[in-house]
Symmetry: C2
Subunit: 558 residues, 2 copies
């Protein structure tokens, strides 16, 4: 019997990747990456530093180019490989990255009239133009629909679906009025590959809808029209034009169109799975399972766990999102994260540039910091240089370093920053467990997990738990390929597909008991700082210090 393969299409911020894997064991046989050609490294910018858009043409062109190249790559690597052996496709994307579409489901940006209008493009996840609208949505929900916020960490973000759409309505009404509907990138790509139309027939992933658009089966889908109308009557009317077909990744959106089959060399009709966000499919590709926490560690982290949906689960304060089926069918998908990890180390290396004439690189610092013992520096830091996503859900928090003397070295500070992110990671694990989501194992993936043994060892020592590393370096694309394998019929159940196709690296970082004891003491001190500066539980007014500094800064800079 010939081998079977699937394709994972992974849409990142600057590029798209196609990954072809063998469905029997998940090994990668071919891959290709294509950098978006619009804007700066794929991102359309403007004078407004909050604006970040993408041209949807890059998504279509990118799929064609990377699929074709990955097939060539697979043929080169694997004797006898044939494109017809590809039995399914899965898609993961950034998000929330909504785009306005016309009645046929075509991006407005494809219309000449809007070809250069940034509001008609895809509103990239990191577009923050909707800050005011996010505050408005949060304020209204707090007042009249608190249940909407309980599942998304208590605050509706400027990065999310309705903040962006409402901002478009307010600032680019010509675009809003011309849009028949809005779709997430994660839903647009599968629809395009399968020729689905009109947009209210698109199949939306519950991952995007649930985590970013307050969709929940318990309240009949998206926020009710009355709520949306109170923000703006036009937004209320949009609701009925959003697709009601919302599913987990274990469903197929449809079959690959003949046109796409001809363009790429794939078989027409092979199923395309419902799309989801990169982190969620990254968790799938890392082997997320009940009791496992998957940490995707890069510039920031996304921490994903799941919990069986037949058991009741409390709203967990501070979590970014709790959505039934957003990671795996049959489970609540629980999303947490740290606003900065690698970005904090990058700040130290690239902004402060310590070390004199031979500035210290990440590698230098990793090596030197590994020689220090836990607690030896007398330093303690908070990992809030970019705010705190979980468990405080407060972007207006900032970094803190304490304990420096006249002899504190840049290596010691670097290690303290790594330790700070480990304490932040432990705080997230503890929060899961406090609310009944037991974490039996921690699986890491992403650049830092692969490249920094120092970080992984410190995470093990701080948490007192072994740190495992996902075998694949492309867990997001692999997760998408697993969804493709399931909808392609290669397995009887989703869990078997995932189990067969994922794995761990042989090296596991195990906690050093002596270091762990020291870190238990330091974590108690971290928690004192965390609560004093990050919560109002504290009786003093330290909780306002960071915010007042930001207020002063903004006033002075204005």
């Amino acid at each position: 019997m010939p081998e079977k393969y699937t394709i994972g299409l992974d849409y990142g911020t600057n590029s798209v990747r196609a990954l072809i894997v063998n469905v029997a064991h998940g090994r990668e046989v071919g891959t290709a990456v294509w950098n978006y050609e619009h804007g700066t490294a794929g991102v359309i910018l403007s004078r407004d530093p909050n604006l970040a858009r993408q041209h949807p043409a890059d998504y279509i062109k990118g799929a064609e180019i990377t699929i074709k190249k990955a097939l060539v790559d697979a043929k080169t690597n694997t004797r006898g490989f044939k494109p017809e052996q590809v039995i399914g496709i899965g898609v993961d994307t950034t998000g929330s990255t909504p785009l306005p579409v016309d009645r046929a489901g075509q991006p407005l940006a494809f219309d000449k009239k809007f070809a250069k209008n940034p509001a008609a493009m895809a509103w990239l996840w990191k577009d923050h133009t909707g800050v005011a609208e996010a505050a408005e949505i949060t304020g209204l929900a707090k007042k009249i629909r608190p249940q909407y916020l309980a599942k998304c960490g208590g605050v509706y973000s400027s990065e999310w679906f309705f903040s962006k759409i409402l901002h478009c309505l307010r600032t680019a009404p010509e675009v809003f009025n011309s849009a028949h509907s809005w779709v997430e990138l994660a839903d647009y790509v599968p629809a395009a590959l399968t020729g689905t139309e009109p947009p209210d027939q698109f199949v939306a992933g519950v991952c995007a809808a649930g985590h970013k658009a307050m969709w929940n089966a318990n309240w009949n889908g998206y926020p009710d029209a009355a709520f949306l109308s109170q923000l703006d009557p036009k937004l209320g009317r949009l609701r009925s034009r959003l697709t009601a077909r919302v599913h987990s990744i274990d469903r197929a959106v449809g079959g690959l169109t003949g046109a796409w089959a001809r363009k790429t060399g794939l078989k027409a009709g092979i199923p395309v799975a419902v799309g989801a966000f990169d982190a969620h499919l990254g968790a799938v590709g890392s082997g997320v399972a009940p009791g496992a926490l998957v940490k995707i560690i890069g510039t920031s982290t996304c921490d994903i766990a799941i919990s069986p949906n037949h058991q009741s689960l409390a709203d967990i304060p501070g979590l970014c999102g709790i959505v039934d089926g957003s990671v795996l069918p049959g489970y609540f998908g629980l999303e947490a994260g740290q606003s900065a990890v690698g970005d904090i180390f990058n700040w130290w290396v690239h902004y402060v540039q310590p070390g004199g004439k031979k500035p210290l690189s990440h590698a230098d610092l990793d090596k030197a910091a590994a020689k220090l013992q836990a607690g030896e520096s007398g330093l303690l830091a908070l990992d809030w240089n970019n705010g705190n996503r979980t468990i405080l859900a407060d972007q207006r928090l900032t970094g803190l370093l304490v304990g420096q003397t006249l002899y504190t070295s840049p290596v010691e500070i670097y290690r303290a920053l790594v330790e700070a992110t480990a304490f932040g990671a432990l705080t997230i694990i503890n929060r899961f467990e406090e609310y009944g989501v037991k974490i039996d194992q921690v699986i890491n993936c992403g650049g830092i997990a692969e490249k920094s043994p120092l970080t992984m060892q410190i995470y093990a020592d701080v948490t007192g738990r072994p740190m495992k590393i996902s075998r694949s370096a492309q867990t997001c694309a692999l997760g998408a390929a697993i969804a493709g394998a399931w909808v392609g019929g290669a397995y009887r159940d989703f869990a078997s597909a995932q189990k067969a196709m994922t794995g761990l690296k042989p090296r596991i970082y195990r906690p050093d008991p002596k270091a762990h004891l020291v870190y238990r003491e330091l974590y108690a001190l971290y928690k004192i700082l965390h609560d004093a500066f990050g919560t109002r539980d504290w009786s003093g007014n330290l909780h306002s210090v960071m915010k007042q500094l930001i207020d002063v800064r903004n006033r002075v800079r204005r």
Copy 2:
């Protein structure tokens, strides 16, 4: 009538300086510096990082060389200058720098038997070998003589007279037992120049005795014998061999001996004033007066004010010392200080070395930081990298930086460190005023006051007060020379001598009202951090965080 001159002899940590000034207006006509020849840059070190000693031979040789060279320099600079025109000498030294002496007042180190014994040398101010003894003295005084501590900031320091002597008694009994007495360097030099002996006839400066040896006229001089005996009976017996002649700098110790006159070319018999510490005579040389605060700003600061001794003055909590006559006769000398100022900036420049391949120098940072506005960085720091001398009197406090983001630059951090020292300076000014010592003007001197306009402007902006700079760059030696002028009979009263011989630089740094308003806000936040981390007033347990970090560090390093 021919001009009259005096000499100020200024004994620093690494070198001694002689300065010849014209008594009419204080202008400097000749100077010479000689680097001590023993040890490393004049300091005898050992494996114990706490040990720092000096060889007394350097003091004697240094006086001879620098006086002779300064006289040559004066002859070169000033037509008709003759050594006979020198009418008096004043002496300032580091301290507490006690040394053991024999029955004739000669340093034990001059005895062959002890020529290489570090315990027989002068115990330099920064020798910290007596940490345990300092704690013992503090503990006993707290229990049975709290009044002793009330005048010296509540804690008896390891840097001070009795800590060092008790440590010698415990660890080098052969030296202690051979010593007839112990004298401060500030008292030894005038005794040597005037041939005073035996040591119990030395005239001790009230500056050293009062600030470092708990001497106070109110309790009949040094701590009572019962107290000292409880520390060690031998220490109790030493008390009667310490000189009872303790005076302000307005007295002459005696006249220059014939031998010294022949060695130097000065007139025999010219009066030598009672010695005092560098900072105190620095304040005199800067023009300290009622209502003036003199800040001597270098690696750390010494902040000196005076208050009329006919008015009652409360014990001011946290001040390092309050001693009647220690600066000027007729006034309480009030000493405060910051444990690190320039040292914190040096830490950033030399230990962290930020800025990449072209590391940022002090000058680079000063220039770039001057372009930033108050509050613009969003940063706030505590100036405690070397502990806090005033007002918390707690060496186990450490640095803190808060507000950093992913874009915080090394220049912004540098400015935040400068601002932190300014907030520390303001806290000292406020403490003086809270206890009725009104500060009408602030006069700065020392390296940073001269070299860093950024620092001076920020001090003005933070405190809302003009920052004046002392005219002389050698205020300590100038202060000694003023004492020499007074004992030499050039003036009818001390204040007139000081007024005539001191002055200010023309440039005064005036507060920018806009910046001051911002800094008022930031200072309120600084005080929140200060009180939370530095005092027990705070209801949380933040006050223990820095200390616990130090405890962990010490335990791990051991």
